[in-house]
Amino acid sequence: MFKEYFSIAWRSVTSHKVRALLTTLGVVIGVSSVILLLSLGNSAKAEAEKQIRSIGSNLIYVTVSDPIGVLPTIWLDEIKDSAKIAYYSPMVQRPVNYDVNGTNVEVTISGVNEDYDYVSSLTMTSGRFLSSLDMKSNYPVAVVGSKIADSLFGGADPIGQILVINGVPFEIVGEVAARGQSFSGDNDMLVYISYDYALNLFSGRAFMTSYYITSTSESTVNTTLAKVSTYLDSVLPSSSLYRAFSQSQILGIMDTLMSLLTSLLAGIASISLLVGGIGIMNIMLVTVRERTREIGIRKALGAKRSQILFQFLIEAVIITLLGGLIGLGIAYIGAFLISVLSSFTVTIGLDTVALALLFSISIGLIFGIYPANKASQLEPVEALRYE
């Protein structure tokens, strides 16, 4: 029986192709924008998580605000002893501009210690990272990100090259593998030098120092964070003077924020689904009126109310489901275009697809029930008389 309803409804839809298409346009737009926004949000979230994880999930950040700004080495050593810390590194950053054949190239100088490569999970492609000797000696050396060779040295091997920073010549001793973009900018346009040198070059505490601390394992992050906080509470006059948080906390916050943003956008987009639904109800009411005589004939031939109701309800669902499928197709094209035109990959999850299709079916049911019920309630005598 269902097959019959379906074939009757399908015939009715296909005999008014343009009308059906226009009717379902709202659903098309709604479904495609909801899918695209949800997928964009989810992909952005996944991308951000991937980046944060690549830096290390047992990472803890500490910043100390003015007037203290930096943590004395004694404190850091004490923290290292008391909390289960594997490595730590201070970091201070400052942008420096170079003129390469008339074009301006901005490079970020990053003052760190010899453990920063462990802390940030850096991989070397050639040469070595900064060593503890580099920290103590006065000989200026630098390690560069993967894009520096192309940007500043015309693609030549950077090892052994001299990079002048604020008038001081640095010898490049190593190159780090590509790390990609992060919130703070392009990680591959970084130049790493010793922390003390950086402080000297950029006149003291002009920029806030961050401390990167790694716990011995991922499972001890929270204990380590608690111990670091306890220590800082004991040495600083107020807990408002410092901030300490772990990578997983950032991840959590970001997750919440992104989800909120995504659902907000999808919510706005789903308004068009509502509008689309009202459009469908409107057209279905017109259809019922137009086909009053058909309904009368069907009733005279033995159609029950429920059978008429189903016929029109299924018709509405077919229209919205069709709109959902077209919307899905558009969303896929959109995702493909975004992936091709930007470096950002948008993947449409199966759950998103299921959700969108479920939504379009529900809209057909919700907005189709009133017109279908109206059709089923028609009196056969009246309906047969209708011209």
Partner: protein, 229 residues
């Protein structure tokens, strides 16, 4: 098989109470060929709607196959229309976007008959009314007479006892009209109860019994000696 006693049907048309049927009684036995005649406004269309279970009486009793129609609900009435009564309308009332075959299959669909069987039965019926070669034509591709034959085939789909024909020749020329009437006569000979509603006495002459209506009342109910039994 059909028993009408003291049936009235009143409508409210604006503020005016219209007594379309004002207390009529008659019986129709199985296998009869009855013409219900009367001028427009005599109540014959109302009577046809009541006999066809498309409408219900205001007062009085309509029994079909010994059952009180008034006691049935909406779904039961749909089932009676589907299986016990075949309708033939003046304007054929075929669904325009469906082929002749599909039109004949509609009542079979509502009777929940299996697809293959439905198709075979509809094909047999169309062949029976002489349209075996035009089954896949849409109503617009058929002449008036052919369309009316499709609707007769459709009326026969679930093998009902009663065929209710409302001005079956009203939209046809006299020659095709005669063909349709001949078909109905033939069906009567095969045992179907045929009820024709018409304003045309010439058409009523085909029936074996003529019930004349006037102003919602039965004017006469006579055997028709002229019919070629």
């Amino acid at each position: 098989m059909i028993s009408i006693s003291n049936v009235t049907k009143h409508y409210l048309m604006g503020d005016v109470l219209v007594k379309a049927l004002d207390g009529i009684s008659f019986d129709i036995a199985e296998g009869e060929f009855v013409a219900i005649v009367g001028p427009s406004g005599s109540g014959k269309s109302t009577l046809m709607n009541i006999l066809g279970c498309l409408d219900i009486v205001t007062e009085g009793v309509y029994k079909l196959n010994q059952k009180m129609i008034k006691e049935y609900d909406e779904n039961d009435l749909a089932e009676i229309r589907n299986t016990s009564i075949g309708f033939v309308f003046q304007q054929f009332n075929l669904l325009p976007s469906f082929s002749a075959l599909e039109n004949v299959m509609i009542p079979l669909t509502y009777a929940r008959i299996h697809r293959k069987e439905r198709e075979n039965k509809a094909k047999a019926l169309l062949t029976q009314v002489g349209l075996g070669d035009r089954m896949y034509h849409k109503p617009t591709e058929l002449s008036g007479g052919q369309q009316q034959r499709v609707s007769i085939a459709r009326a026969l789909a679930n093998d009902p006892n009663i065929i209710l024909a409302d001005e079956p020749t009203g939209a046809l020329d006299s020659k095709t009209g005669q063909e349709v009437l001949a078909l109905l006569t033939q069906l009567n000979k095969q045992g179907k109860t045929i009820i024709i509603i018409t304003h045309d006495m010439a058409i009523a002459q085909y029936a074996k019994r003529i019930i004349r209506l006037k102003d919602g009342l039965i004017e006469s109910d006579t055997r028709n000696e002229e019919s070629d039994v």
